[in-house]
Amino acid sequence: MLLHTVNKSPFQHAALGSCLRLSKDGSAILLIEDGVYGALKDTKISADIENAMKTKKVYALEPDIKARGVQDRVLDGITLIDYAGFVDLAAENKAVEAWL
């Protein structure tokens, strides 16, 4: 499967939406940089990501989460990883697609 990375805020950019529409069930999605705002609960896009989590595995980069002070708001079921975990995900998947 592909690893999909999203680095844009879902409130400002359509990148996360495009990634959810064009990634296959079973694939992994990693939220990094401003993309981590997509990992939070009680936002207007939380339902979209919760829905995606039924068929895809969603990760968020913890250093980016902490930098933005949102560590207490992460949705249940999202896996937090560090850069080493990012490297592992890239290695485990067949290729990496960046939703820029």
Binding site: F11, Q12, D34, D42, D64, K66, A67
Partner: protein
């Protein structure tokens, strides 16, 4: 430097300056470089308002810890704005709500305005700088 600038720049004129912050911190540099303009601008003794809307409200999130991305955490600087007499900080209510946040989640005291109130505030400005 600031006195010379005042002489050269101000000339007694006081304008309504509005800085509008709509971008999240760290993903891009606009938030940090916007703050640098506000701090320098304070020396000119204009009538300054700083607005946070859309992802700009994330600039004010409490508990930022940037060690893991090796960047400087500049959020404490917003607390210093008061010392520079930059006291009018506004946050859009709709932007907070969309993100499941309240003013209590922010690092500095702000005035929360509705979109309609913010429209009026911005319409009243002489100079609008967007970041």
């Amino acid at each position: 430097m600031s006195e010379e600038m005042m002489e050269e720049g101000g000339g007694g004129v006081i304008k309504k300056f509005c800085y509008i912050n709509r971008k999240a911190p760290y993903g891009t540099i606009y938030a940090l470089e916007s703050l640098e303009v506000v701090l320098i601008g304070a020396a000119f003794e204009q009538d300054v308002s700083v607005v946070f809307a859309d992802d700009g409200i994330y600039q004010l999130t409490k508990g930022q810890d940037t060690a893991g991305i090796e960047m400087k955490n500049f959020s404490p600087t917003y607390r210093a704005l008061e010392m520079y007499d930059v006291e009018k900080l506004y946050v859009e209510k709709e932007s907070l709500e969309e993100r499941g946040m309240t003013a209590d989640d922010l690092i500095v005291p702000v005035e929360v305005l509705s979109s309609a109130q913010l429209q009026d505030l911005m319409e009243d400005q002489d100079v609008v700088l967007s970041f």
